[in-house]
Symmetry: C2
DNA sequence: GCCTGATACTTCACCAGCGAAATATCGTCC
DNA sequence: GGACGATATTTCGCTGGTGAAGTATCAGGC
């Protein structure tokens, strides 16, 4: 599709040019956030291209994977919202779709009838086991530009950043 | 908003659990892509929250910034599409909106009347100069968990990845 | 000079995701 | 034990972004 090289070049040039006109531009941070979003966009696009033949997008897939990888194959919409960074509205649509396709079931919890219990079905597990392995080679290739050390460093920095970004202290 | 810590924890646990059932899971790469997308989502959400008071989203803002930071304050929809990772359809809508707000102008190129020439206005430049500086402190804070060395390393790795992801060789 | 294919952009119809309001259930305070 | 606020999920209307088709212009062969 679209090539990233010109974006990267334009980014560096653009930041320099803006910094000439406006004082105090935190160049490095601007580069970091823009590069990160650029990579994120490209990676997400690739993932979604891979999933499209199965009529899935990344949100749907992530939701299904949360269930697959949960201890007992069950969860609730609320929990999935928190873990998959989704809004309840969207989770309703996603789980409805997954249920319609027979990949999960939806039942009401007995102890708290407000809650809906989602459970991955045998079909859902089969689907994941069929879908996942073919994605591995391409995924590995995406990061093949890194040495083992770099991959570890990158992971450490990403994890550190995620935990740091967490709550910039809202006042309740 | 939503806390990222549980996501990170669930991610690591989930990957381990999946790897027990399915052979060949490239754990490190899965963690990398998921962490990157997680950070990307959080950062983008923060940026858009900052822009919302000005009735802008990140795409609109990026488009305006491309013009602000271009050598002569002009560009074309096609060029901006390539550099801002947008589709032409959306670029039309964005530039229409920016033009309606008087931040840019749209004229037809004389040498190739198919092309539209976009140019940032004085108002547009003022807008950027007013909007940008207040974003700096928060942006710096986002990456304050990194040492100078870590920031440099992170930038290097992100740039390397972006250039590597570029074209996985389409055959024309 | 006109036909043909390519290029630059726009319009149209659709879908994913969101915020706000609605619904249903729970816990608890009196 | 019924009223009240909190919690879990769903419904509704809207917006941003997309692919496919449409429009206008260009460039090159004949």
């Amino acid at each position: 599709m679209s090539s990233l090289k010109p974006c990267v070049d334009a980014l560096y040039e653009g930041v320099d040019r803006v910094a000439e006109h406006i004082p105090g531009v935190p160049k490095c941070e601007v580069l970091l956030i823009r590069l990160l979003l650029l990579n994120g966009g490209a990676l997400q696009r690739d993932v979604e291209d891979k999933l499209k033949p199965f009529d899935m997008n990344d949100s749907d897939f992530r939701t299904l994977m949360m269930l697959y990888s949960s201890a007992d194959g069950t969860s609730t919409p609320g929990e999935l919202c928190a873990l998959a960074e989704q809004k309840p509205t969207n989770m309703t649509r996603i789980t409805s779709m997954l249920a319609k396709r027979g990949l999960i079931t939806r039942t009401h919890a007995t102890h708290d009838r407000r809650q809906v219990v989602l459970k991955i079905t045998a079909d859902g597990r089969r689907f994941v086991r069929k879908l996942l392995p073919p994605m591995f080679p391409e995924l590995v290739a995406k990061f093949s530009c890194f040495s083992d050390t770099e991959r570890k460093t990158f992971e450490r920095l990403l994890r550190k950043l995620a935990l740091h970004l967490d709550p910039v202290a809202p006042s309740p």
